[in-house]
């Protein structure tokens, strides 16, 4: 217990002093038991302010002190660092937040704000009286990263970490890395094709000495904590020995089974033995067991016969590999919502109602029609195309309330590419608003509207139905107030982006937080956008929210720099303000284990007494609040301390007379 307590009251310019009667406050605080020194100052966080605190601690031989200022998220560290320099345990410094919790919310009630500020300070003094010295714990770390998802986000993050000199495992559940970007025809607003800008990066990944590729693999299990994860990866049975395979493609050319091509979004047929696309990295194929004639009917084995390298192995099995990892980047990306849910647009009913990614494949030179736009039902060149934006996005009543962010731009790009492909064709875009806030984006949309002659109609489509071999689009033009009917050959739905399938499963395996739609949550929306809530996990790209390629790449590099910063340490220091078990009181019920979101509290398998993993514990306090007998407490937030603080909060307000009382 600290007997000599100092209190420093910050005016924060007029942020605090403009509301709170700081002189009356100083006088009242001086009368509180164990307070031996009180001082006011205009800006405590300034250099002279910090020096003043430092001098007072020495001169008055303080055992601990309180700064009454702003939120501890801002300056708790500043003043704890002063303590460290003075040789005082930093956990004997506490912040009383009288700005966010008093002067700001009660700016119109200065008298009340002053009285409340006194309670906040007094409660914090009560807490500090029972604070104990705490020490951080040091643990080593494995300087090796796992990147989950091999789209452009994962590729960029992996390359940056690998270039920084550390080993990276890049995981993708597909046969090849590349993700959705590999499926796109050209990218807005510069119209580079991914083959030109992305395949060099994919090759770099394949050749980088620090990158180990795990494609056609999934996360089986993750245990451990920041710096010290153990990850089990399931490498799915490929039925092709990649050590022997040369990637010649002879097997693919001869495979007689023709299932729909997933890479081409089911617009055309592929083969049972396949690689995702021609430039796939790695270039070695896998066998789709569900489509393979040998696996389904016991006959065929053509691939085995034609393979010059004898690489086909029908006996192949899933392999579980265990890897030690220090940091994990989640780059699991997005999917488009299934358009079958948009029945009013004829989706799922008419072949010529497609989603944005299907249209990308129709446009792509590597697509089903080699870049000549044809409609799926009868391969006719569409004389006109209607694009419908916000198909499922910005629709809180039936689908998703959020904006999918990229659709305005890719729809403009798709309309442009269509016009370039079918010169006499007509393109119509139904939109709610045009959101083109990115570098060169607005200019691009202007170009599409003015130079390419794409017709923009502001309004929503109510119905799409068939008339003869045409599709009829009924909509409203909200600028003219007219109803619109357009007969067209093809309808493209800019359907909402949703988290990639399997990301919820990954969230439960990693215990990472997501929002209600399943996007991974960042630690702070503004100031910590690439860190997840749990230590050691970082976020890149559309796993977190809809975003475009430049933002994805920037965020991926941001996440990689966080990993590099982590790896520049020789050890990890864990915050000691965490849960702690009194084994004498613990009665083995396991409530704590069931409420811990981080897997940090476990019953010892032998004694069944609860134990806290000090590095894994994030100090949230859920276990301490749940433990019925009080066997778990939160360090320096003991029940006694909390009761003391509550007790102060319920005291009368008449212990201070402010200048506003008169």
């Amino acid at each position: 217990m600290n007997k000599r307590i100092g209190v420093f009251i910050c005016h924060c310019g007029l942020n605090i002093a403009g509301t709170v009667d700081v002189d009356a406050l100083r006088e009242a605080v001086g009368k509180i038991r164990n307070v031996v020194y009180v001082k006011n100052y205009i800006f405590l966080c300034s250099q002279p302010g910090q020096e003043m605190v430092s001098d007072a601690v020495k001169e008055h031989k303080l055992d601990g002190f309180i700064v009454a200022n702003c939120s501890p998220t801002l300056h708790e560290k500043t003043f704890r660092t002063i303590a460290i320099k003075l040789g005082m345990n930093p956990y004997l410094v506490e912040v009383a937040n009288i700005r966010e919790q008093s002067s700001w919310p009660h700016s119109k009630q200065p008298d009340y704000a002053t009285k409340k500020a006194l309670k906040i300070i007094k409660g914090t003094i009560k807490k500090l009286e029972r604070n104990i010295e705490l020490y951080t714990q040091r643990v080593g770390l494995t300087k090796r990263a796992l990147v989950i998802g091999g789209g452009i986000a994962g590729i960029q993050a992996a390359l940056d970490i690998a270039d920084g000199g550390y080993e990276v495992l890049l995981l993708d559940r597909k046969q090849s890395i590349g993700g959705h970007m590999a499926q796109i025809s050209e990218t807005f607003p510069t119209l580079d094709c991914p083959q030109c800008i992305m395949t060099p990066k994919m090759t770099e990944v394949a050749q980088h000495p620090n990158i180990k590729l795990y494609t056609y693999s999934e996360v089986e299990e993750i245990s451990g904590f920041i710096g010290n994860f153990t990850v089990k990866l399931r490498q799915k049975a490929r039925y092709v020995d990649w050590d022997k395979c040369t990637g010649c493609g002879e097997c693919i050319a001869k495979c007689p089974s023709k299932p729909l091509s997933e890479f081409n979004r089911n617009l055309c047929k592929g083969t049972a033995i396949y690689r995702d696309f021609e430039q796939a990295v790695p270039s070695y194929p896998v066998i789709n067991k569900e489509a393979c004639l040998y696996f389904q009917k016991g006959v065929c084995r053509v691939c085995e016969k034609v393979c010059p390298a004898a690489a086909i192995n029908y006996e192949d099995k899933d392999i579980i590999k265990e890897e030690k990892i220090g940091a994990i980047i989640i780059a699991t990306g997005y999917d488009l919502m299934p358009i079958q849910a948009l029945g009013e647009y004829g989706a799922g009913k008419y072949k010529d109602v497609v989603d944005g990614m299907q249209f990308e494949r129709l446009l792509a030179s590597t697509g089903p029609y080699a870049g000549n736009v044809k409609r799926p039902s009868d391969q006719k060149v569409p004389e006109s195309v209607v694009f419908i934006q916000c198909a499922g996005s910005r629709d809180p009543e039936t689908h998703y309330p959020y904006c999918s962010k990229i659709c305005c731009m890719y729809t403009a790009k798709q309309a442009l590419l269509y016009k370039h492909n079918v010169h006499h064709g007509k393109a119509y875009i139904f939109y709610i608003d045009i959101r083109s806030n990115g570098k060169g984006y607005e200019e691009f949309v202007q170009r599409v509207q003015e130079e390419e002659g794409v017709v923009y109609i502001r309004g929503k489509v109510s119905k799409v139905f068939k008339r003869g071999d045409k599709l009829v689009v009924w909509g409203a033009d909200t600028l003219t107030g007219q109803t619109v009917e357009i007969e067209t050959d093809l309808v493209v739905l800019a359907s909402a982006m949703i988290p990639s399938t399997g990301s919820l499963n990954l969230a439960s395996k990693t215990r990472l937080a997501t929002d209600k739609f399943g996007w991974f949550s960042e630690a702070h929306p503004k100031l910590r956008p690439v860190e997840s809530v749990t230590g050691g996990y970082f976020l890149a790209g559309t796993a977190q929210a809809p975003r475009d390629i430049p933002e994805t790449v920037a965020q991926a590099s941001g996440a990689a720099s966080k990993v590099l910063a982590l790896f520049s340490n020789e050890y990890i220091e864990s915050d000691p303000v965490i849960a702690q078990v009194d084994p004498e009181i613990c009665n083995r019920c396991g409530y704590c284990e069931s409420v811990c979101a981080y897997g940090a509290v476990k019953l010892n398998p032998k004694t069944r007494i609860a134990e806290v993993n000090e590095v894994l514990c994030e100090g949230c306090g859920a276990c301490a609040a749940t433990c019925p007998s009080g066997a778990i407490s939160h360090r320096n937030n003991s029940r006694k301390q909390i009761f003391d603080m509550i007790s102060v909060a319920t005291e009368n307000y008449d212990q201070i007379t402010t200048k506003f009382d008169k």
Binding site: I585, R588, C589, G630, D644
Partner: protein, 373 residues
């Protein structure tokens, strides 16, 4: 996995069952059995762990008194290490419900434990039973006779008078029933694999139809459900609001007997007996400043509300708290009422099933959106 048989006995129900248990011990089907038994001077009844079949005498399978909740016995026996030997235990339905909760709270390990649950016509307060002197035998008989009469005996404890789950549920291994039976007949039912194994080793049982018994049970529980709801609704009006609640506890002497006797209060050290509640004079004086005076000892109501907050979602309504109260506060009715309301919110019923997860350790996204009153 259920079945029912009948034991016919000419020696009286308790004696007939005692012979049955003795055979289980003699045949080494069980290594021991815990069963209510009279003290040598026939003054009281408590649970006794029998290993020697020859010592099995004077037992009361349908004991009319319940000195403590036997789930606590099982907790003490098996919390740290499971039993090496096969032990049977005779439980009342409320004790069985407490067993279910304590298993979920990881306080009881059922390995090698065989649970026998009896029909219960209610038990009388320990005071009434111990003071009954010459009438004690009559009281025992009265309770036995009341099984198939249409009314609950007026002498039984409040908790029993309003109990509508007074028969073995499917959580138990073996059921021993009188509801719906003929004179000198006892139903023996099994509800689990373990129970089936034991019953198949019992001699002299005859096959039975379920329907008569099921009808009797249904009729009793329907009737008791109604009594319970009427009682609780009336009771609620007597304790609602902080003033009525304070007055309800006004004679509480802060002895914490209710906590000690509660089978669900499983903590080794009660939080309300921890250092958190030791106050320095400065604290007490500050509180006294607030309204000029302070009732002492403090935290009396906080103890009851805190305990309620901790255990009420698992309250099985045995009423041991009321029986233990030296000043006669009916703590049990209050906890039963609050427990009923809290458990309804979470669609949970304490003691109903081993699988239902404890509300406090389960997170449901939609929970508490419609918390009423």
């Amino acid at each position: 996995m259920t079945g029912i048989k009948i034991l016919k006995t000419e020696k009286g129900i308790n004696q007939g069952l005692e012979d049955l248990f003795r055979e289980l011990l003699q045949d080494k089907i069980l290594d021991g059995i815990i069963i209510p038994k009279s003290t040598p001077e026939n003054k009281f009844i408590y649970q006794v762990l029998h290993k020697d079949p020859e010592k099995l005498s004077g037992t009361f399978t349908f004991s009319p008194v319940m000195p403590s909740n036997s789930a606590t016995l099982l907790k003490n026996m098996t919390k740290l290490v499971p039993s090496d030997e096969r032990i049977g235990i005779v439980l009342k339905p409320c004790e069985m419900r407490a067993v279910v909760e304590l298993v979920k709270l990881k306080q009881i390990n059922l390995e090698n434990i065989y649970l026998f649950t009896v029909d219960c016509a209610g038990t009388v307060d320990i005071d009434i039973y111990s003071k009954a002197e010459t009438d004690r035998d009559m009281l025992n008989k009265k309770i036995l006779d009341s099984f198939n009469s249409s009314d609950t005996l007026p002498e039984v404890r409040t908790a029993c008078g309003i109990c509508s789950h007074s028969y073995p549920a499917d959580t138990t291994d073996i059921g021993i029933g009188l509801f719906g039976s003929n004179t000198n007949e006892v139903y023996i039912s099994f509800h689990t694999e373990k129970g089936k194994e034991i019953v198949s080793n019992m001699k002299n049982l005859t096959d039975s139809e379920k329907s008569v018994r099921e009808k009797a049970i249904q009729s009793i529980s329907e009737k008791k459900d109604k009594i319970r709801e009427e009682y609780l609704n009336k009771f609620k009006s007597e304790v609602s609001g902080i003033e009525k609640l304070t007055s309800y506890f006004s004679k509480c002497i802060n002895c914490h007997n209710c906590k000690s006797q509660c089978p669900i209060c499983f903590c080794r050290e009660c939080f309300f007996e921890s250092e958190t509640f030791d106050y320095e004079s400065e604290q007490l004086l500050t509180w006294a400043d607030r309204s000029g005076m302070l009732k002492m000892p403090t935290d009396l109501l906080l103890f009851h509300l805190g305990r309620m907050n901790h255990m009420v979602s698992s309250c099985i309504g045995c009423g041991m708290c009321s029986q233990a109260c030296p000043v006669g506060i009916d703590v049990g009715s209050l906890f039963l009422l609050t427990g009923r309301n809290a458990q309804t919110i979470f669609n949970y019923e304490a003691g109903r099933s081993f699988e239902e997860e404890l509300p406090i350790s389960t997170f449901r996204e939609e929970e508490l959106t419609e918390l009423g009153e």
